[in-house]
Symmetry: C2
Subunit: 412 residues, 2 copies
DNA sequence: CAGTATTTTTTCGAGGCTCGAAAAAAAGCC
DNA sequence: GGCTTTTTTTCGAGCCTCGAAAAAATACTG
């Protein structure tokens, strides 16, 4: 069961709170931290002094507005970039990208590579992933604190403990324990994250005003994915990354989905489904990959003339609307971010979506449900992975101050 | 943001842990508590000694098996029944029931009453609820510790903070802030809970083996409701009690639902929907109340002959199956408890349900999804309310030992 | 039946942590 | 240069948990 809380947990948690405050706020003063955490000035002083000695935080130069107030000026605390580093690995259709990020969140190296993920055999795919990470880690130009965490993101389903890819549209392979593979290869803790979950994490980071406690990130791309944040926490399934919004049932026994089943939301709203419908192909037609350029052309045509193209987007909107309606019946309405290439065609989707959602219980306040769009998902995924990894370093490594301290007594 | 953890929180949390261990386990010894909480024997000794002095716990007589082991016998700790009491109020269709429950969880008084909830005006409904509680509290026969909490449960939607009934099928009235009303009337903290959520709480309590971290309780009655536990926590919507499984969309634009919309799961699987279908009425026919006896007769007939009745249950199963499939796409499969009068007809529902669920992404392991049935929901709801209220007393009142202690120095 | 072994519970001192108050530090203001 | 204001550090007090040892309560053993 839940375990009692010990005396040393206290310090650990409060250190974690300080680190989290610094990461969120940028350069808060000790006084500001005391205010947001509710801890006393003495405690914050003690903790930050420790963290500075351990090389995790640093006092930032007085900088900026040379203080207009009188009294002793606040001195900002900042994350020390060289305290650690993390690596992000994002694997998507035919594309692999890696970045090394310092403790303060700055990208200090990256590499990208095209591969044929759909046909690659298992060993080769794994090999490419480890090789690209190794190249970055071995790069002699890179002077970086020890890498403390690797976060890999992938399109597809991962397990709920963020250890393995279970299924992915980008490869016929299944059940690849990437986290274990990376940990074994590099001796660095690693996780295997779901792409849409990372999108949600990044959105929360980018715009905490809008995306705070409850919101939904929906990927409109070849497939339909979702990242869900409820009560400030990333939602996952009981076994898998969960949130397979695209495979909720829109019409029982309906159009053929890429997953082999029928009537899923994705079978109406995925790129291939929109394409299939616009080309007046049968709903049973085998899903095909459609390039981003083709999708943009399709959207342009739909805007131009009222034909099968526009109707295809309308149907996609309807499927998304009823799907969202069912989702909202479960969790209540929340702000939505539409991400991915088809989010750029959201103008074509929105009317039917709103009409559908208004017919559902969850859409009672259809008007008040707000949508935002972001056509490019890859930067979001990388950013989410970076934040995930850095937060792990904050909370799980640096919070438990079992650091060096071997320096000696040259302390003030 | 999240607030720092202070020094006094420590004791409070550990006291809460001890109380929770005693409530769950029954009569654990100090040693057992130390083992399950991970706290040291010294700490448990200190805390339990405090709790005993404060009149919250009591040492139980050595009792039972006069110890077969050698060594000093363990002495069990038990909740002291007279330490406090709670009141549960369950309001359902034409029925109001109240119970007074002691701190150890025993029912010590109850009262039930029939009312015409559907036609009652607002003041009268509220008046009946407060009057029945007042009668129990004023009962001179009742010698009970001070009542520390009232938990009211109702069929329908409540807000996510458990303060008010927002909408209910048992009355045309809406937005009744029962928690505030009861608090104001009796000066006792109160909550307004959703019936299905309380069913889930009770199931978790009754059978923690099966219903532990992830499970679903579905009410099959006039309407279709759901209580959902994920990662050990009761799931609620962002604004409301949420989990309106019955109003997920099964067939866009389909059969008329009691909520006024079309195609909801409930419009196929609610009692009125099964009845409507069995009677070969139109899907647009206005929903009517069907008595439990009629439903049982209907089920009997469906078992007897393969006619419209059996087909009606088949359709209900299909709707529930596709709904569960969509739900499982979001949260992954989990054990299900079917509760309510139509759960007694689950044999008629199950085949079509399983067939439908197998056609969905969430039903990949359809065979492994297990169902249990419980035809009577009212006892579950009351039990859930009681546990809710008692847990509140444990965690929020007794954990922060701002108790009497006025006694003096007559301590050992 | 007295002594010994075993297990549970309590006691006691040590070590940490947070807090409030006061002191120290670092500015601007007059 | 002295005074005010604000931030940060220092210091002692008060709790809390922990480990070790003592005390308590029983069964076993010869």
């Amino acid at each position: 069961m839940s375990v009692g809380i010990r005396h040393d947990d206290l310090r650990r948690r409060n250190r974690a709170m300080v680190l989290s405050a610094v990461r969120r706020t940028g350069q808060p003063s000790r006084t500001e931290i005391a205010a947001t955490t509710g801890l006393s000035h003495s405690t914050i002083s003690a903790i930050s002094s420790d963290l500075i000695q351990e090389g995790i935080l640093a006092e930032s130069k007085p900088s900026e507005t040379a203080s207009l107030k009188r009294g002793r000026p606040q001195v900002g605390l900042a994350l020390k970039p060289e305290a650690a580093a993390v690596v992000t690995v994002v694997l998507s259709l035919n594309f692999l990208s890696v970045a090394v990020i310092d403790y303060a969140g700055q990208v200090i190296a990256e590499e990208q590579r095209r591969l044929d993920t759909l046909t690659m055999p298992r060993d080769e795919l794994i090999g490419e992933c480890t090789a690209i990470v190794r190249r970055r880690l071995d790069d002699p130009d890179l002077d970086v604190g020890s890498v403390a965490r690797i976060a890999m993101g992938i399109q597809g389903i991962t397990d709920s403990h963020a250890r393995a890819m279970l299924w992915s549209p980008i490869t016929p392979l299944t059940d690849i324990p990437f986290a274990d593979i990376l940990e074994k290869e590099f001796g660095i803790p690693a996780t295997m994250e779901n792409d849409c979950n990372m999108m949600a994490v990044a959105l929360q980071w980018r715009d905490p005003e809008r995306y705070r406690d409850n919101f939904i990130a929906i990927l409109l791309s070849h497939g339909i994915g979702m990242g869900l944040v409820l009560k400030g926490e990333l939602f996952t399934g009981t076994h898998s990354s969960g949130g397979e919004f695209g495979h909720m049932i829109h019409r029982p026994g309906g159009a053929l989905c890429r997953c082999g089943r029928r009537g899923c939301v994705e079978a109406y709203a995925g790129n291939y489904a929109i394409w299939r419908s616009a080309m007046k192909m049968s709903e049973d037609a085998e899903p095909v990959d459609v390039g981003d350029a083709d999708m943009r052309a399709l959207a342009a045509k739909a805007r131009e003339t009222d034909g099968a193209e526009r109707e295809a987007y309308r149907r996609a909107g309807e499927a998304l609307g009823f799907g969202l309606g069912s989702l909202f019946a479960l969790i209540d309405p929340a702000p939505v971010a539409m991400v991915g290439v088809s989010a750029a065609a959201f103008d074509l989707i929105e009317p039917a979506l709103r009409e559908a959602i208004a017919q559902t219980a969850g859409g009672q306040h259809s008007k008040s449900i707000s949508f935002d769009t972001e056509p490019n998902e890859l930067p979001l995924i990388r950013e989410g992975c970076a934040i995930r990894a850095l937060t792990f370093v904050d909370q799980e490594i640096f919070a438990s101050g079992v650091q060096a301290r071997a320096g000696g007594k040259n302390v003030a």
